[in-house]
Amino acid sequence: MSLIPATDIILEGVDLKKHFGGGGLLSSPIIVRAVDGVSLRIRRGETFAVVGESGCGKSTLGRLLLRLIEPTGGDVRFEGRSILSLNKSELRRLRRELQIIFQDPFASLNPRMNVGDIIAEPIWLHNLASGREKRERVADLMATVGLLPTHSDRYPHELSGGQRQRIGIARALAGDPKLIIGDEPVSALDVSIQAQIINLLEDLKDRFGLTLVIVAHDLAVIRHMSDRVAVMYLGEIAEVSDTDALFDDPLHPYTQALLAAIPATSPRNRQPKASLQGDVPNPAAPPSGCRFHTRCPHARALCKEQHPILETAALGRQVACHFWREIQGAGAGSISAPPPTPALARRLELYRIWRERQDKPATTSP
């Protein structure tokens, strides 16, 4: 990791901590260590994914990286500068460059504003344009994300989930951001709409040279979209790796368990799952030593006592496990999808050909 030139790192988290609760008149006496010592570096232009189960701290981490919440400890650096020491006007500028898309677009859109106003709001807020220029910009943005001009005077409740997510994306794009964090951006959508939004995000990334950070739990979506992945468990990073390497050869036993739990992609590769036992422990009282040891099939005495550090493996990968070298040989966890049958492959191809033709005459939404 240290070999990467500093200019290639767009966003960096340094030993980030976010603890909730713990004293105070109105807060709970129990301390929840939602994010506990996370360091990561996101490269300019990549799609970086953060994956983990509910309660692992992935959404909290996303908010910390944007300074939407203040960290308990650690630092966030955007293009080499700490964003924690910025003054108000600097922070305002930063808000343009770092954007977020939420899981549930309906909850994040003002129900009393129409679509055109919702998209115009950030343009107005950041004094980017006004009058006719603003209206043109809104129209541009709407076309960019695949909304029709007629949607402009509709209200969020009149639109479908996919269209609302497009509004969220248009808003995020309004200030010409450099980096967008998507917090479960497609997980509330139906499969066919999910594919549309994934393609849209990829197109926009290419077109505007964006860096994407995708916080998600769906491993297939992550494999498809991301260049690198960080796997989180109970507020800590278990493994960071190139996506292909992670899926071909997961190093951390938790990553192996996550991959093994993915349902089969075809009835032909059904197999009994040696699935993880038990639930994720309470983040307010995480296990001692390695936090995963209570569910780990490879746990030994040392794991209970000593907290593993995130160490560097081959190919710039990082893994936090005392015994990853030994476990690696066991061949556990790697997943592969069987190739499609000839009939399926032929029909998918046919579908693609006709689908492209369908888009040609009138270019509306992809």
Binding site: E53, S54, S160, G161, G162, Q163, D190, V191, S192, I193, Q194, A195, Q196, I198, N199, E202, H217, L219, A220, V221, R223, H224, D244, F247, A257, L258, A260, A261, I262, P263, A264, T265, S266, P267, R270, K273, S275, L276, Q277, G278, D279, V280, I335, S336, A337, T341, A343, L344, R347, L348, L350, Y351, R352, I353, W354, R355, R357, Q358, T364, S365
Partner: protein, 359 residues
């Protein structure tokens, strides 16, 4: 002109596919299915004329088998299951046609008290969000026992004893302790196990599970799917599993019905659906799911969204989004084309390579 030729092609293909006997519904099997739904149609009051929320749906499931109903929001999969359980609220929902024979009796003509005797007894249901289906004010044991007492002549202690057995059966750790726990004291996965224990309390012949793992994390989902499969092997219960997740279908289904906008567009054995999908919607769905293998370019997508009821086409309801559709599709609802015995697709142009070759 084009319409006529397509129809002729279609009929010729049908004759070829079925050497004798003629067109049979794909749900007919040698053994009598436990549940046999024929041409079920359900209408919501106030919907435009001719637009049923569930339209001409035929399904069947046999003992020990799992039928997966797969489809996206609004396809009618949940309404169908609620109708089968007798849980539809009328008005606004009304069953306007069809039959649903369960173990030889037509559910749709049974009086309410007889359906109540079946419900939670011979047929049981599991819902997506266990927290909203469990009563927060009663212990787990009381809630499981309630269903047992309703349908069996047993005392409270006997029912609690059975509840404990059920918790063991769904592999809940420390079941004696859990019996006295409240729902909020348990995790999502444990609550879903409790729901399954409740549903199985009276040894149902049919279990309907509506998105049972959608709210769960992937490692917990794997646990619950494994549990469901094992329990089914032990008890021989027939199951209808409703899901939007093709992975879950690949994992547990024996038979599959793909629903789109209230209609079954394709149905057949799970291998046929995955290896030889025929309906453009099924194919589009498969192309929309990211692969777990190495990345293979952009995802295929299905254009647009499901049309609202007032814009629903007369013909094939998928026609406005379908890359292969034409005037015939827009105006005439396609019949179920038999691809092979037991595998059917509602498409004028199945198999596509025959009628819609790359040319």
């Amino acid at each position: 002109m084009q319409r006529k030729s397509a129809r002729m092609l279609y009929e010729a293909a049908q004759r070829k596919a079925l050497p004798a006997g003629g067109v049979n519904d794909c749900s007919q099997e040698a053994t009598q299915p436990l549940l046999n739904v024929q041409n079920l149609s359900i209408r919501f009051d106030g919907a435009p004329a001719g637009v049923n929320v569930v339209d001409d749906v035929s399904l069947s499931v046999s003992r020990g088998r799992t039928l997966c109903i797969v489809g996206e929001s609004g396809c009618g999969k949940s309404v169908t299951s609620l109708a089968l359980m007798g849980l539809l609220t009328t008005p606004p929902a009304r069953i306007v046609g069809g039959s649903a024979f369960f173990d030889g009796r037509d559910l749709l003509s049974l009086p309410e008290h007889e359906r109540a005797n079946l419900r939670g007894n011979r047929m049981a249901m599991i819902f997506q969000e266990p927290m909203t289906s469990l009563n927060p004010a009663f212990t787990i044991g009381d809630q499981i026992a309630e269903g047992i007492i309703r349908h069996r002549k047993v005392s409270k202690p006997e029912a609690l004893e059975r509840a404990l057995d059920m918790l063991r059966k769904v592999r809940i750790p420390a079941p004696e302790k859990r019996l006295h726990a409240y729902p909020h004291e348990m995790s999502g996965g444990m609550r879903q196990r409790v729901m399954i224990a409740m549903a199985l309390g009276n040894d149902p012949q049919l279990l309907i599970a509506d998105e049972p793992t959608t709210a769960l994390d992937v490692t917990i989902q794997a646990q619950i799917l494994t549990l469901i499969r094992r329990l089914q092997e032990e008890t021989g219960t027939a199951m209808i599993l409703i899901t939007h997740d093709l992975g879950v279908v690949a994992e547990v289904a024996d038979e599959v019905a793909v629903m789109y906008a209230g209609r079954v567009v394709e149905s057949g054995p799970v291998e046929a659906i995955f290896d030889n999908p025929q309906h453009p919607y099924t194919i589009g769905l498969m192309g929309s799911v990211p692969s777990l293998g190495r990345r293979q370019g952009r995802l295929a997508t299905i254009r647009g969204t499901v049309p609202p009821a007032e814009l629903m086409p007369k013909g094939c309801r998928f026609a406005p989004r379908c890359p292969f559709s034409d005037d015939l599709c827009a105006n005439d609802p396609p019949p179920l084309a038999q691809i092979k015995p037991g595998h059917g697709a509602r498409c004028w142009y199945a198999p596509l390579e025959l009628h819609r070759g790359a040319g």
